[in-house]
Amino acid sequence: MEETYEFTKEDLEEIETIKAKFPTVMPATLPTLWVAQRRFGHVEPAVQRLVAETLDLPESHVHGVASFYTQYYKERKGKYVLDVCTTTSCQLCGGYEMLHYLEDKLGIKAGETTDDGMFSIQSVECLGACGYAPMMQITNDVYVNNLTEEKLDKVIDSLKKGEMPEFESVGMPLLEKRNI
């Protein structure tokens, strides 16, 4: 049986705020999909239907948008989705090595989810952190820069405890004072 989804009152208020930013309702499609994904963890077809009904837009339109953009999860994922960048700068600096290390460590391949539903791994395209390669992003949120095997071990350990790494500011090397 298909699960039914409902937005909370807060979600609906947020969606109204989003709608007010634009002259028509259609531009709210992407942001509302984001609200839905944060609420339900994914935007499988039943969630897309909810978004379409909430915005009074055709379901086909919402499905077209959801399927076009890679950050929307069209199927269920693990609690933490590890997006390892393997595009050029990360490739050059060991992105694939980091990806394979994670695969071995978690016993799954890129694109898969661990049996306990804790982790999914994805090999993703450029995340725009090329100077801090190799890097990854955790569940469309925090960037983890300058990955090493040790750093990955630490991150996985803390995620198992439910702790997300904090935002890591990277200074500009010529402005040395910022690096203190």
């Binding site: 077209g64 801090y132 500009m172 004072k177």
Partner: protein
Amino acid sequence: MASDWKSFEPVLIPDIPNLEKIDVYEKNGGYESLKKVVTGNDWTPESVVNEVKAANIRGRGGAGFNAGLKWSFMPKPDGGPRYLACNGDESEPGTFKDRKIFEYNPHLFIEGALIAAYAMQITTIYVYVRGEYISWVKMMEKALQDARDKGYIGKNLFGTDYSVEFEITYGAGAYICGEETSMLESLEGKRGYPRVKPPFPAQKGLWGRPTTINNIETLANVPLVIKNGSDWFKGIGAENHPGPVLYGISGHVNRPGVYELPTGVPVMELINDVAQGIRGGKKLKALIPGGSSTPVLRADQLEGISMDSDSLREAGSMMGTAGMIVMDEDTDMVDALWRISHFYHHESCGQCTPCREGTGWAEKILLKIKNGDGEIRDLDLLLDLTTQMEGRTICALADAAAWPIRHTINRFRDEFEARCKKSVHAVA
């Protein structure tokens, strides 16, 4: 030539702690340029456009078009809505500079966008940031709220009859949304399919209304031009491509990162002095100068080349976003090109056949070569394929996919042939 780059003091992201806080920004002269143009008798919208045009700020998003000239394409106000769309999509591999502005000096960009909006009599500004940059989106939201609270955004700016709205929105993972018309489609809540031009966005942009699209770094230069004058700006860096630039240096260097320096810095000085040379004492093999779509250059092509559009064109490449990817002697060019082609195949929106099919086919052939199953004739097939892709699509993604293939094969042909030699079809 920017031979004096060593004494250059950053202006886009100066060394001022907590500049992202609006009070600190104001204490350092922030929002004075905005006030000057909106309230000053010396400034009309037209004179702001002319000053920016004279400064010759060339678009920092990659295309390098004179920003003021672009602004001048906007039709005269007709009472209806007009839009400024600020492009913070930043998805070109090798490029990671705009996020520095969001993090360290967001108000410079906000002020620049507000001045741009005033100059074109625009009443609504949208900032479009890639969805992955959610941490930076939050920083921008905070900065926008602070600016709104201080009265720099909203109704009747400084008591004049000029009002402006400023909203931030973000994507959800699609490189194509950095292409200006795709970004408009995405802002309108659709798939990021590029639009056929003409009509250009200045005529028909967001919701069919006049729209100008500028990169974040481009707009960050605007308050500096208003504050210091166009002659000051033109005096920085390369003659035909002036101003400060955020260089992103990544790959096999000792000190990768974003550096603010003038345009026109010699490439080898950027690699050896600024980024402190190649990791592990290895030799330089190649450089992609301005994001993965700009043609790769061999180390021997870099002698005397500086980072500006004229010099790089002479060398057979482009400035792009100034996102430099440095490759050492151990880099496998076949692997590197395959990964670049994989990226463009993954990111092709699929609207135009030459791009949808071409990027996929190219990736397949390159994978075959990478796996040692390639034939020499595959290289010529790839070169032929690039000519079938270039200039035959709605947007430039097909070109961006084709250039690296053509130039990497031509400039490193030996390496590609060597990989094909195992094949039974190889020429002995």
